[in-house]
């Protein structure tokens, strides 16, 4: 499937799930974060010359953090999804606070796709839509397959170009 193929436009707003590889990618990032803390904390403590001692119970926080992530991430990712409609791109996420964002394609200023090293390992990509309302008006969708992200980007860029040509 190439990026020039039309992404599925669904005006009935059926939510498309994120890539199934997004969950292992997120879990991997949490594990790496916990490992970084586990390595950095004793190193930082050694620089204080014994003034800072990490209590034994503090080490229990790391597995607790990982267990909490394991409990929260799967339902959160299951709930996340996007819907490309004729005139807008919608995205929903959030486990405790449900959020649904819609960005009209006519309001998109530019589109960006990016891939972190971990994204590259798992074959994922992130797409970001920028509007003139910087900050709250931008839409970021993590955890898309590379092909899906490229198709979305291509579709939106073509649409924005079409609007610009119509304006002229």
């Amino acid at each position: 499937m190439t990026e020039h193929e039309q992404p599925p436009i669904d005006n009935k707003q059926r939510w498309q799930p994120l890539s199934p590889r997004f969950l292992p990618r997120m879990l991997a990032s949490k594990v790496l974060f916990a490992l970084a803390i586990a390595v950095a904390a004793p190193v930082a403590a050694s620089f204080t010359g014994g003034a800072l001692v990490i209590p034994a119970w503090a080490w229990a926080l790391l597995p607790a953090y990982l267990i909490a992530q394991l409990a929260v991430l799967p339902p959160a990712i299951r709930r996340s999804g996007y819907a490309l409609r004729e005139e807008d791109l919608q995205f929903r996420d959030g486990l405790f606070v449900h959020r649904r964002k819609a960005v009209p394609l006519r309001r998109v200023q530019h589109v960006e796709t990016s891939r972190s090293p971990l994204d590259r390992v798992f074959g994922l990509s992130t797409i970001k839509l920028y509007t003139a309302a910087a900050g709250s008006g931008n839409l970021t969708i993590h955890g898309l397959d590379v092909a899906t992200a490229n198709r979305l980007r291509h579709h939106i860029v073509e649409r924005v170009r079409g609007e610009a040509t119509a304006d002229e």
């Binding site: 005139e87 606070v97 959020r99 964002k101 009209p104 003139a132 309302a133 709250s136 304006d167």
Partner: protein, 510 residues
Amino acid sequence: MSDTRWRRVSPLSVVFYLAELARTAVRQIIQLAVPAAAVMAGTGGFTVGRLYAFGIFVLLLAMVIAVARYATFRYSIGEQSIIIQSGVLSKNQLNIQYDRIQAINDSQNLLYRLFNIVDLQLDTPGSNESEAHLPAVSPQIAASLRDKVQTAGNRRTQQLSDDEPGRDEPQAAIIHSLGTLDMLKIGLSSRRVLVLFAVIPWLWDTVGERLASSSTPQRVIAGTTAALGNVTGLGGTGSATFAVVIAVLLLAALSVAAAMLRFNGFRLMESQGSFTSKAGLLTVRSHAVATRKIQCLTLRQSMMLGFFDGVRITAFPAASHRQEGGPFTIPFASRQRATELAHGLWGNDCRNLSLSPVVGDYQPVDSRYRVHLFLRHGLAPAVVLSSLLLFVSDFTPGQLMAGTLTGCLFLGLAAIGAQRKHRRFGVQVSGKDIAVRSGFVGWQIDSFPARKVQAVDIEQTMLQRRRGLANLRLSLASRTIVIPYISLTLAQALAEKILATIADDARHWI
């Protein structure tokens, strides 16, 4: 044919660059002081001669940088865009299409007035600060740029056929002006004065206490108030009152002076679908905005403005909140005049919206909004603060009683505040336009056409889900408007209506 040759700004821009360097140095004072002190200490310590030499070196360096920046700054005014080249070490070239320019703001300080040049800022959307800045150019250049931006705007407007006929009067007509009495009202309505009224009890206590004690540091104050007593013929308490009154009057006068400095001789002019304001005592600032570029318009009446039956109007073009010129402001107008001016600023948009706080079909938000406000701004801070205080210190039963009473008083005020805010909050939807009314002591109305919305968010907390409520967040290019605690059905309907309006409306948002 337009003159597209490369031009330089006035050599006086060197003064601007020096001032900018000085501002940067003040901002980075700590980062600069540490290496400077290290160099001084490492090369034999601080002496007066060395400090002078260092000062002269810094001044010369600043002069060289300022002159180099002037020498490398060039601009060219083309038919469709302005090109700006700048940079001493790295070269930058900016090409800004005229139809992207939101507003052209110019200002003249005393020096610039003497040489008849202006400092010109071109506001564009999506940039964190004024993207294009011409530090010292002639007023003719400013006028020529305004014409080009206006022409570009009109061309687009004509293409899109979205503007009303008969808005092409060539001369700018003054439609609103402010006099000296208005400066007094603006000054006295400033938040500075409000803060002042809040600190009067504290001032009273402080002066009273210092009169009672006569320890060394307070002798001057005690002496001053005693002298005031002699002059005014008043006793201790009387002179304390006099001192407080003088302080209040002095600060109020300062606030009025600040209003005069900024808004003296305020004139609002309209020409060809754009509005220009001109005001200032020493530095005269001119701020222009095209009607079609306004994203959101706010009418605000604070408690003090309400006392004078005045309203402040603020028009927000895209990204104006992040730019130096800021939003377009009409600092004072009577309530009725403000409504007329606001409709004038909107042009063809928001015609059917009532921009009055009392007239219009404002739908209230759910009553649980006041519970949310009370929990967030009343109970939560009270619990956190009292827990912290109890944790860090032991209190006597008397202090505990006083603390509890203060806490109860605070919670009572928070409850009243939450109730008032909830009652003031309302949403008015008229056709394709939206107005949101809010306020606590005064009121504020934010109005905007649905087609200017950039993104729509619906969010639900767990509690809101149980009650079928949601917050609707509308992101505009100038600011974000949140409509809290409306039913999920209404939030979804509004979101769909806004998205449909954007899809159907061929007019560009900018």
